[in-house]
């Protein structure tokens, strides 16, 4: 650029006539000469005149220059001259440094020229596309001026040029390739181009990120030595900031690409005394800002939270805390580091816990929080640093009940540690120091320890202060109001009033404590009702807010200061309208909306330090309700109370139903378990039955053999005798079976009466439900009912499942019994078996009937499903079914007993038959185990016979 400086130097005169003529001649040559060399010389000449005769060259030669760019693509030299010339025409900021005499008017003129030529140039969007395509030329003489020209165009007409580049195919991607250029000048100017390109254009920012910008930029930063690097690092950081600021998609990409981890080494600057150059300070500043962009309170909470997590996990937060506690760090870096740490820990429990554990490397080690608070209440520290510490403290306590508890605990008598300075001591010191800024900061800090935390609000009421020797201690609350009434600086009083409002808000006990001091209410009413000057208005507003809270959160426990009494007081002493107007002074204050914007306390000057961000939220929340509360008559309030009560009642009803459902759930679980045990029991019984059946079969076989022998050997008389005996036995058995049946029948009737009872119960429940549903027309309740209904529904499904299970069991039991029946076809046993069969049939039919009953029951239950009371009846049905299941098990057991009896009978029979046989002269073995001996016995018998 030095070349041009000579041309422009000191020239303040207007264009010379010969200039315009020369330029015209040159233009003609550019346009008409057929010789490339000729054209090239002409363009070079135009270039040399383009600074001195900017206006003339611009108006006369622009078209020709563009033409050259289009037609002389093969000659990089002429392209370079043309681009340089266009750059000189369009660029505005070349002169700044070298011409001090240039006044503002001339700079303005230059700006105007630049804007005018830019507009002229981009009138045809193709011209931008043309430049983009020229950037693909590798030749340094083309690419470099091309980059600079495009940068200048973007500077002058950002939005339009961005729009054109965005829609030209691969436009942005091609510009990204500049970062890969091996020639540093081009890469560095490429960075400046991308900075302009990405300014406030989210779409372009995303494409640039998609084209791996993060990777490339982080690589360059590392290559250049991170914070120790030069202006290139600064440019990379500025571009990164452009890409990430207010762009959640790119932030997400940055996080997901694990690039947060790559920021950590940037901050490994700690205690090394490598010095702090201005460039290093700038670089670190930007690096800290990048961290803040990722965890800014304006981001979506989820996004910030996951970044905060990674910052802890990769050690970035720890690294920042090291800087925080290091010595020799420049004040502005320290301040920005505090602000950064603040946002990295804000609302993140893990990070807040870590922060609480950080110690300063002093002897003895002190918590970082304490060290920071010392600076906050220290008048000699820079204002911005004190603000940063306050912010850090606020962020530490934000959504951190544990931290709030720990801070308040340092003030409580039981936990005070006299040997070391605590956060609580520092805050109290600040609260009552002579420095109003300390008063304000300490008040706000303490208010944050109470934010949304009823426990700590009540705990803090216990704090007592020793004021001066010989006087009784005074409560912290009392001391705050004392100072308030002593008429200190506005800043002090505003701070204390904010603290008091936060403290007693939503805490009736604190309200009572506050009202208990007889001087407080008169003081407030006096403050509000007086006609004070402009600068007292905010204090008046805050006093009104405090009194309003005393009304709104009043539990009427002090007879002199009930809600009604306080309202009457306002009406008499202040006037409702006046009160509301004074209350409105808070939000109408010029600094209010500024503080409401973001959590960080930022003030142009110490005097402007009046509002706290969290407090503005409190005002927003309370202004309306207090206004309403003051206007409301006590009758209205009663009505409201009534509504609240009914609502509570409804809630109770819903709660009851919920409990009921919970109970029934438990019951169902229990029943399910019972079914399971019964299933296994029945399986066991089945095996026993099978075993017994096989035993019966054995006995039958034996019996048959004996019978055969009898038929073979004994007389028909004896035979008939035996028959009658057998018949006798059968009758005995039959009567027993009859008894069994009778018993079963009784059981059945019992069950039926139980069923009818349940029916009646269902009916009553049904009518109750009808009443219930008629009475409750609350939509909320209906919703609850719906939920309950669906629960009942799912219960019904469960019941159905249990039913099928039960039927399965029944079926199995039947199968077993029918098996037993079918397998016994011995002529003698047949009758008995038939008995058993008929009994089983009776049982089955009974079960069938029971099933029918239960079916009809479940039908009625399905009807009731729509009704809430169905839940109750369902349980009843379940219990009936359980009883049935138990009965069935009982029956199975009985069956088993019967079978055992049968066996015993048979044994007896066999025994008697044996006796008979003996009597008939047949030798019979007394042993049970006849099988094995049968053959030998027979043989022996035969032998005996033979011998006989």
């Amino acid at each position: 650029m030095n070349f041009f400086r000579g041309v422009m130097g000191g020239q303040a005169a207007g264009p010379q006539p010969s200039g315009a003529e020369t330029i015209q001649k040159l233009c003609d040559r550019v346009a008409s000469s057929t010789l490339l060399e000729d054209r090239r010389d002409a363009v070079r000449a135009l270039k040399s005149l383009s600074k001195k005769y900017r206006m003339e060259v611009g108006t006369q030669a622009m078209e020709h220059l563009i033409n050259i760019l289009q037609t002389d693509r093969s000659d990089s030299e002429i392209l370079g001259y043309a681009l340089d010339t266009l750059y000189n025409l369009i660029c505005n900021d070349e002169e700044e440094e070298q011409d001090e005499s240039e006044d503002e008017a001339m700079q303005k003129q230059s700006d105007d020229l630049g804007a005018q030529f830019t507009e002229q140039f981009i009138q045809d969007p193709e011209h931008i596309t043309l430049i983009l395509s020229l950037l693909e030329e590798f030749d340094f003489h083309v690419r470099w001026p091309g980059v600079k020209l495009l940068t200048a165009l973007l500077k002058n007409q950002g939005v339009q040029v961005q729009g054109i580049i965005l829609v030209s195919p691969m436009g942005v991607s091609r510009l990204m390739d500049l970062l890969a250029d091996s020639r540093e000048v081009i890469r560095n100017d490429g960075l400046l181009l991308l900075q302009q390109l990405t300014k406030s254009n989210a779409a372009i920012q995303k494409i640039v990120a998609f084209e791996s910008a993060f990777e490339r930029l982080l690589d360059i930063i590392t290559e250049e030595g991170s914070s120790d690097g030069g202006i290139v690092v600064e440019d990379c950081l500025l571009l990164l900031l452009n890409l990430l600021k207010n762009n959640s998609s790119n932030q997400n990409f940055f996080k997901e690409g694990s690039y947060i981890q790559r920021m950590k080494p940037w901050f490994e600057v700690g205690d090394d005394n490598s010095g702090w150059s201005a460039q290093k300070v700038t670089n670190l500043h930007l690096m800290l800002q990048l961290v803040r962009v990722m965890v800014s309170p304006v981001n979506s909470p989820g996004a910030s939270a996951s970044c905060q997590k990674s910052m802890y996990q990769c050690g970035l937060l720890q690294q920042l805390c090291t800087i925080l506690m290091a010595t020799g760090v420049p004040a502005d870096i320290l301040t920005e580091t505090i602000n950064t740490v603040s946002e990295v820990i804000r609302g993140s429990q893990v990070n807040q816990d870590y922060f609480a554990s950080v110690n300063a490397p002093s002897n003895p080690p002190r918590p970082a929080i304490v060290v920071l608070l010392m600076s906050m209440v220290n008048e000699r520290q820079p204002f911005v640093l004190r603000c940063a510490v306050l912010y850090c403290f606020q962020c530490f306590l934000y959504k951190n009940q544990k931290g709030q508890g720990e801070i308040v605990a340092t003030l409580l008598p039981s936990t005070i540690d006299a040997n070391s300075i605590s956060a609580g001591q520092l805050l109290c010191g600040g609260l009552f120091s002579a420095d109003s800024l300390s008063n304000w900061c300490a008040s706000v800090a303490l208010a944050h320890a109470l934010q949304d935390n009823l426990t700590q609000k009540e705990q803090l009421l216990r704090v007592q202060l020793a004021t001066s020797l010989g006087k009784p201690p005074v409560s912290l609350l009392q001391q705050c109001t004392n100072i308030l009434s002593q008429g200190s600086k506005v800043q002090t009083r505003v701070g204390l009033l904010m603290l008091l409002c936060t403290w007693i808000n939503n805490c009736p006990i604190a309200v009572t404590h506050f009202l208990h001091n007889q001087e407080n209410v008169p003081f407030l009413t006096a403050q509000i009702s007086e006609n004070l000057g402009e600068d007292e208005r905010l204090v008046q507003g805050l006093c009104a807010l405090l009194l309003g809270i005393c009304i709104f959160y009043n539990d009427n426990s002090l007879e002199n200061y009930t809600k009604d009494k306080l309202k009457q007081l306002i009406e008499k002493r202040i006037g409702k309208e006046n009160f509301v107007e004074k209350l409105g002074f808070i939000t109408k204050h010029e600094l209010y909306s500024r503080a409401a914007q973001k959590p960080q306390p930022v003030f142009l000057s110490p005097e402007q330090m009046l509002f706290d961000h969290e407090f503005t939220k409190l005002v927003k929340e309370l202004e309306g309700v207090i206004t309403k509360a003051v206007h409301k008559s006590s009758e209205d309030e009663k009505k409201e109370e009534d509504v609240k009560k009914t609502l509570e009642q409804h809630d109770n009803i819903v709660m009851q139903y919920k409990d009921l459902i919970r109970e029934q759930d438990a019951q169902i679980q229990e029943l399910k378990e019972q079914v399971a045990t019964m299933t296994s029991q029945s399986e066991q019984m089945q095996t026993t039955v099978t075993q017994q059946l096989s035993q019966i079969q054995q006995h039958k076989d034996q019996y048959n053999i004996i019978k055969l022998k009898l038929g073979k050997d004994s007389q028909s008389q004896a035979n008939s005798q035996a028959d009658s005996q057998v018949n006798g036995l059968q009758t005995e058995e039959l009567s027993q079976l009859r008894e069994d049946l009778e018993e079963l029948r009784q059981q059945h009737t019992l069950l039926q009466t139980q069923l009818s009872d349940k029916d009646a119960l269902i009916n009553t429940l049904r009518s109750e439900t009808a009443e219930g549903s008629a009475a409750s027309d609350n939509t909320e309740m209906l919703k609850e009912l719906d939920a309950l209904r669906s629960q009942v529904h799912s219960q019904a499904t469960e019941i159905d499942q249990m039913k099928t299970e039960r039927q399965e069991l029944l079926r199995k039991a039947e199968a077993v019994s029918s098996e037993a029946v079918s397998s016994s076809d011995g002529s003698l046993d047949a009758a008995k078996m038939a008995e058993v069969e008929s009994r089983l049939a009776a049982q089955t039919s009974e079960t069938e009937r029971l099933k029918e009953e239960s079916k009809s029951l479940s039908k009625s239950r399905v009807d009731l499903d729509q009704q809430l009371a169905a839940a109750t009846s369902t349980a009843a049905i379940l219990q009936t079914e359980k009883a049935q299941l138990q009965t069935e098990v009982q029956e199975s057991k009985k069956e088993q007993d019967d079978l055992l009896m049968l066996l015993a009978d048979q044994d007896q029979k066999i025994h008697s038959l044996k006796l008979k046989l003996k009597a008939l002269g047949e030798p019979v073995d007394d042993e049970d185990d006849l099988d094995a001996r049968d053959q030998t016995d027979d043989d022996e018998e035969d032998d005996d016979e033979d011998e006989d």
Binding site: L166, K206, F210, N250
Partner: protein, 212 residues
């Protein structure tokens, strides 16, 4: 978290076919019935496992409107995979597939894997495009095809993972130049071959977004 490969995807198709919902279902496992209109392009990411290897998917969800078409085009070149989505209950979105495909083929690298997706399969009663038609279109143009529902999550995992499998196979076959990041593929910090010995026990897919 360390990965063996990183694949870049884009999701394209007419507006309202459920592109953003598909991405949300894949990254966050949830469905948002009322979804903001996508302005330009939105980013999402998730880790999956293929062949025992961790693969990071970076996905750019694009706006379907014509006015954003030129912006969308900037993303084709650098993507390894594209999900081309239509809505089975709106025939017009199916009819526009040819235009989308031409656009994609023209601006992307030739190896880009394209998965055709017929979304909203849960709305069977309002179906306007038969599954067979989607299959036929895919066959004709050499695409993989799937019907999905971003609402019920049916086939959503499969759509993203099968696309990755296809890309992975192409890498194994040596079709992709994995050293050229412009193809939308990146080798992880941990070399895949050393990783494979470790990854024997990494069975199913990595769940949820917000890894690393």
């Amino acid at each position: 978290m360390a990965y063996a490969y990183l694949f870049k995807y884009i999701i394209i198709g007419d507006t309202g076919v459920g592109k953003s919902c598909l991405l949300l279902q894949f990254t966050d496992k949830r469905f948002q019935p009322v979804h903001d209109l996508t302005i330009g392009v939105e980013f999402g990411a998730r880790m999956i496992t293929i062949d025992g290897k961790q693969i990071k998917l970076q996905i750019w969800d694009t706006a379907g409107q014509e006015s954003f078409r030129s912006i969308t085009r900037s993303y084709y070149r650098g993507a390894a995979g594209a999900l081309l989505v239509y809505d089975i209950t709106r025939r017009d979105t199916f009819n526009h597939l040819t235009t989308w495909l031409e656009d994609a083929r023209q601006h992307s690298n030739s190896n880009m894997v394209i998965m055709l997706i017929g979304n909203k399969s849960d709305l069977e009663s309002r179906r306007e495009v038969k599954k067979e038609e989607g299959e036929a279109f895919a066959r004709e143009h050499g695409l993989i095809f799937m019907e999905t529902s971003a609402k019920t999550a049916s086939n959503v995992e499969e759509a993203f993972i099968n696309t990755a499998k296809e890309i992975y196979e192409k890498i194994q076959e040596g079709v992709f130049d994995i050293n050229n990041e412009a193809n939308g593929i990146k080798i992880g910090p941990q070399h895949p071959t050393t990783n494979s010995t470790l990854s024997g026990n990494q069975g199913g897919q990595q769940a949820g977004g917000g890894c690393c």
